[in-house]
């Protein structure tokens, strides 16, 4: 870094976090891993050597690192690599869609609360308190087992995870934005509320909301895999990362690879998103710390 840029950027009162720094290695690796996972999810399933449900009873529990089955096979002789690729697609799909649903839902409710105040705000806050007061796993268990399970219902349910955090953040941000000059100015010109919120307040609060999404996303991955692990999430014959770990658990002693590969993918993915999220938060919004 040149002396010139350093002198121009650093003022004595500024906190260390706002200093421009080189992107840390961990963040770079995390970004690369996430790109790889996205690529696998998008085109992987069309490249796999076997169908993820293809049973080959002659090759049950085959060892990994062989030419036929790079990551070995499971108890029914299904290729672990092919299953892993499909699992990555399903798990990412569930988590991404759920994160988007939850962020949209929560932000809209937060903005509604900030706009109408009064009883609307009270209802939103009470619902948020309610959601925050039951551990989500318990809530999800009750809903899932009693409404049966389909992939779309499961995604919708995961989409309820964390909405209350967006709602609280969005409400707070919108209330303070409404008190600021720019929102008042646009309102004076005669803009409709929807325009003020979507075109002015949303862009100004987006960085905080995006950072919250990167914080919620790994939790949704963990939740999805946890429920699938318990056998109450994604249902066979479909497969997901948690699902693979759950079924691989039976073969922990004889064939640990069935379980260890999807488990490492879960850990590496959540790790990457968290590191990226932390870094983004430090960059975009130090107030969220």
């Amino acid at each position: 870094m040149s002396v010139f840029s350093k002198a121009s950027e650093t003022s004595p009162t500024e906190v260390a976090a706002t200093k421009p720094e080189a992107i840390p290695l961990g963040v770079k690796l995390g970004a690369i891993w996430l790109c790889l996972m996205l690529l696998v999810a998008l085109i992987g399933p069309s490249l796999t050597p076997y169908s993820f449900t293809a049973i080959d009873l002659k090759a049950r529990l085959a060892l990994p690192f062989t030419t036929l089955h790079w990551l070995g096979t499971d108890e029914l002789g299904r290729d672990v690599l092919s299953r892993l690729v499909v699992s990555i697609r399903i798990s990412l799909l569930v988590s991404l869609v759920a994160t988007i649903i939850s962020a949209t839902f929560g932000t809209v409710l937060g903005f509604l609360a900030a706009h109408f105040r009064g009883w609307v705000e009270q209802v939103v806050l009470i619902l948020a308190d309610f959601q925050a007061s039951i551990p989500f796993l318990i809530f999800a268990l009750a809903v899932l087992a009693f409404f049966g399970n389909s992939l779309s219902l499961f995604i919708m349910l995961m989409g309820l995870y964390g909405w209350e955090r967006y709602a609280r953040i969005a409400r707070g941000l919108a209330i303070s934005a409404n008190a600021q000059g720019y929102a008042a100015a646009v309102r004076q010109i005669g803009a409709k509320p929807s325009r003020i919120y979507l075109r002015h307040i949303l862009p100004n609060t987006a960085s905080t909301l995006i950072v919250s999404m990167t914080l919620v996303f790994p939790e949704i991955i963990l939740l999805e895999s946890g429920l699938s692990f318990l056998g109450l999430g994604v249902q066979p014959p479909m497969t997901s990362l948690g699902n693979m770990v759950g079924y691989g658990r039976e073969y922990l002693t004889r064939a640990p690879w069935i379980l260890l590969t999807p488990a490492s993918v879960i850990v590496l993915t959540t790790l990457s998103v968290s590191m990226l999220g932390d870094w983004l938060r430090d960059r975009l919004d130090p107030t969220l710390k």
Partner: protein, 311 residues
């Protein structure tokens, strides 16, 4: 202060009411329990008798009112499987769960808080980086993966500890460690960022600029203020003493409330699920209420505040 507490109490009651309504709606409207409990080829008279004895014939609003009345009288229904009172079945499991979650809570607090405080006071030191790596690790490794890896290492490869079950105290070690590590990481991360936030405040600079010893600044100014966000997380942990071990109990075949819940959910044993939901919500609400009380102690400003502005 009084009005603050009253509004909090009102909110707590409202939450419980919502949980009851939620559990009623979810559990009653989602299918005919009679057909699930009884085999499909059971004689119709038997099914009719079953429905009558459980009040499933009544219109739904009457079931709802009956349900509220019954809960208020402490009558929480009987297990549809073996006919014993659900509350009794659930409370039999509570000690087993507490046997895991209480030591785990102790582990979380005794590792997490000191680690977080130390890391914040020695920001960017090697120990800080170690604590943060540990915290990130705890955040990102799902409990079932951690549990299975621990089983693989300590039970399968080394053969030191049993893989699952609940016969001796040695069976509790791995589940407690699994729960404790994850929670300690969460707590360390929260404590650290709370401390860092406070250490950057002007009043800390003022306190040390007027010549106060650093240890006194930390003890008198930084720690009490950093306690507020930490207490919130801690409250959540206390609140999930009953239900925080669902996954871990399932992995280790531990006969606690969490495992009972998973089994009850797959058997559609409505009464048991309701009791657990209500108990969990009750402990959460009680813990949150205690957190609010603690706020009042740690932060005198809250005495005047109408609402404690989010998390």
């Amino acid at each position: 202060m009084i009005s603050f507490l009253l509004s909090r109490l009102g909110r707590a009651a409202l939450t419980i009411f919502l949980v009851m309504t939620f559990s009623f709606i979810v559990l009653r409207l989602s299918g005919d329990p009679a057909l699930i409990i009884m085999s499909p080829d059971a004689p119709p008279e038997a099914i009719a008798a079953f429905r009558k004895s459980w009040g499933l014939d009544d219109p739904i609003w009457r079931q709802y009112l009956n349900y509220f009345g019954a809960v208020l009288e402490g009558e929480l229904g009987r297990s549809m499987r073996d006919g014993r009172p659900a509350i009794q079945i659930v409370s039999e499991r509570i000690p087993a769960t507490l046997l895991l979650t209480l030591p785990a809570l102790l582990l979380k607090v005794s590792i997490g808080i000191p680690a977080g405080v130390y890391a914040a006071l020695h920001r960017n030191s090697r120990i800080d980086r170690m604590v943060m790596s540990f915290a990130v690790f705890g955040f990102t490794v799902p409990s079932f993966v951690l549990a299975l890896v621990l089983v693989l290492v300590f039970s399968v490869w080394l053969g030191w500890l049993p893989t699952s079950g609940a016969d001796t105290w040695r069976h509790a070690i791995l589940p407690v460690v699994t729960l404790g590590i994850g929670g300690a990481a969460v707590l360390a991360r929260f404590t650290r960022s709370a401390m860092l936030e406070i250490l950057g405040q002007p009043y800390i600079r003022t306190a040390s600029a007027k010549g106060l010893k650093w240890s006194a600044v930390v003890r008198g100014h930084a720690l009490p203020n950093a306690a507020i966000p930490t207490v919130t997380v801690l409250g959540f942990m206390v609140g999930s003493l009953l239900a925080g071990a669902v996954v871990v109990e399932s992995v280790f075949a531990w006969p606690g409330v969490g495992r009972l819940l998973v089994v009850a959910v797959s058997n559609r044993d409505l009464a048991i699920v309701q009791v657990i939901l209500l108990l969990v919500a009750g402990t959460m609400v009680a813990a949150n209420f205690m957190v609010d009380l603690a706020y009042g102690i740690f932060d005198p400003r809250i005495k005047q505040a109408q609402r404690g502005g989010g998390k």
